[in-house]
């Protein structure tokens, strides 16, 4: 198991959310944390680079609620502070409000199937479902999913128990490098419930929010058509 270094208290990584054991701002029972904790995390890797330009002083980036010990101000106490991700509840109390849903998924609870491409809403690699609708998790603040249900590619299906869309992507070779694939599949599953037309052009437009640098588009279209056809048959 790779050792996970702890950042000095007065240092935080710019835009990378900490994974240190002392950071319990997202609490969760141990069993729900996926077993890939032992992998070399991106943070471990970056920390290993030493004092590159990534370090910034805590003045700007320290977690406010950790300093004060109180959660951020909130006017309506009845509003839920937990979110459900792939069927399990996660307490968001004390979470830095800057953490995006994408970074929460990948860096804090290790659902790394969701990918970060551009981090600015321009590629679709980070597509997940919130209350059954597809959204870009990179532009969603995690705190804003309180009381909602999030589904990622891990929650859709697993090896041996694939969602029909996952199986169709395998059957039609709907990828090459695979980086865009989880986002493509999350989009493709969401569009099954959207009021879009039946032509290839309609499907292409509905899938336009997911860029594939490998250009697997024809095979992606074939996979989506197959599942749509089966669903409506």
């Amino acid at each position: 198991m790779a050792e996970r270094p702890t950042l000095r208290d007065d240092q935080q990584l710019l835009d990378l959310e900490p994974l240190s054991p002392s950071d319990n701002s997202v609490t969760d029972d141990a069993s729900s944390i996926p077993s890939n904790l032992g992998r070399v995390s991106r943070r471990t890797f970056l920390s290993g680079l030493g004092a590159t330009g990534l370090m910034v002083s805590a003045g700007t980036f320290a977690l406010a609620e950790e300093e004060s010990g109180t959660p951020p101000a909130q006017e309506n106490p009845s509003i839920s502070r937990s979110t459900t991700i792939n069927g399990k509840s996660y307490d968001l109390t004390g979470l830095d409000p800057r953490v995006t849903l994408l970074d929460l998924l990948r860096e804090r609870i290790y659902f790394t199937g969701t990918k970060k491409g551009c981090d600015h809403g321009q590629c679709g690699a980070c597509t997940v479902h919130v209350n059954g609708r597809r959204v870009n998790s990179c532009l969603t603040l995690a705190i804003m999913t309180a009381g909602k249900e999030v589904t990622t590619i891990e929650g859709l299906g697993q090896p041996g128990n694939l969602h029909p869309m996952q199986a169709a992507f395998v059957e039609h070779d709907g990828y090459q490098c695979g980086y865009c694939t989880s986002g493509q599949i999350m989009s493709a599953v969401a569009l099954l419930k959207e009021p879009i037309g039946t032509t290839d052009e309609d499907i292409k437009q509905a899938m336009a929010g997911n860029i594939c640098r490998c250009g697997a588009y024809p095979n992606i279209l074939a996979a989506v058509k197959q599942v749509r056809g089966n669903a409506s048959a």
Partner: protein, 325 residues
């Protein structure tokens, strides 16, 4: 992004009072704001989350118009049966914008207030920008300006207003309803946006703490409508030129018409001159051409965007042709 305080009010009153402090911003879908906060272009000290406010309804009005809550998502508005039937130009404009995922997040209120995509505005390391940093200068005027505006520009800013929805709303003469510390008011969309002049950082008439609660769209003058968007690729891209047309045709003549353009103006651009040229005239290509000439008469291209003048004319002509067919 910088630290901020997060507030989550449950009522409109609470939202308005929470947002009256300096540096407060409302957050709706977050697709403009979170993007720009990551870039350090927006640095609010407090975010007031308006997602739980009861502003997500689309309702028909007794006068035949439509009331659209500020929190109605762009995708829901685009697919709403009444919008598809009576305001096709709005549905088309919405569906031409961003991506399905982003449209699931983006709201009516947030779309009205989206910021320009000028690359210098979005990059704090890129040098002067009067919109981002008032008084520093404009990097685009002598820089990369292929996507910039040709109408409504000033010596201080030539940034394009990027929205599609707002162009359709302009052709439909929507009314924007606002609630703020000083009470409620409504503003016609054509009076909502400001020209850059020498204060390009002031983009509209909203005052600090003012919340958009809803938009009212009056009954359209006709269901002959069309939104045409021209861009560098077929989807997931902003307009180089676009046109929203609503035309009432009687006996082959244009009884009345509303034309608005996108991708070419510093604000959604209502083409009153073009409308005047067409009113009472036969719906023929020659008159469409004359209208397009009138719409672009005041165009002021820069080093890289002269092509937009011709592109916008053809866009208006084609949109008129489709709408009146």
């Amino acid at each position: 992004m910088n630290q901020f305080n997060y507030l989550h009010p449950a009522s409109t009153d609470q939202a308005v009072s929470s947002a009256s402090s300096d540096g407060s911003k409302f957050i709706a879908g977050g697709t403009t704001l979170v993007d720009l906060m990551k870039l350090y272009v927006e640095n609010p000290s407090t975010l007031v989350d308006v997602n739980d406010l009861p502003l997500a309804q689309v309702e028909s009005l007794p006068n035949g118009g439509l009331r659209v809550g500020a929190m109605v998502r762009n995708s829901d508005l685009a697919f709403h049966p009444t919008v598809k039937e009576k305001y096709a130009v709005l549905s088309e404009a919405l569906l031409s914008g961003a991506s399905p995922q982003l449209r699931n997040m983006a709201t009516t209120g947030g779309n009205l207030l989206q910021r320009t995509r000028c690359p210098y505005f979005r990059d704090v390391t890129a040098g002067p920008c009067n919109k981002r940093n008032p008084g520093t200068g404009c990097s685009a005027i002598d820089g990369f300006n292929r996507t910039m505006a040709i109408l409504g520009t000033s010596d201080h800013c030539i940034a394009t207003h990027p929205s599609d929805m707002d162009v359709a709303m302009t052709a439909l003469e929507a009314l924007i309803f606002i609630e703020g510390p000083k009470g409620k008011r409504s503003v016609p969309i054509n009076d909502f946006y400001k020209l850059p002049g020498d204060t390009p950082h002031i983009e509209n008439v909203l005052e600090p703490g003012e919340l958009i609660t809803h938009v009212e769209i009056p009954p359209a003058i006709s269901t002959k409508q069309h939104y045409l968007k021209l861009r560098d690729r077929a989807s997931y891209e902003f307009a180089l030129a676009s046109a929203a047309v609503v035309a009432r045709v009687e006996g082959g003549h244009i009884h009345s018409v509303r034309i608005a353009m996108g991708g070419v103006g510093t604000r959604p651009w209502r083409a009153h001159e073009a409308e005047a040229v067409l009113t009472g005239k036969p719906a023929t290509p020659a008159h469409f051409q004359a209208a397009a000439e009138a719409a672009l008469r005041g165009a002021k291209p820069h080093t890289e965007n002269a092509f937009k003048v011709e592109l916008a004319k053809r866009c208006v002509i084609r949109a008129l042709k489709v709408a009146t067919a």
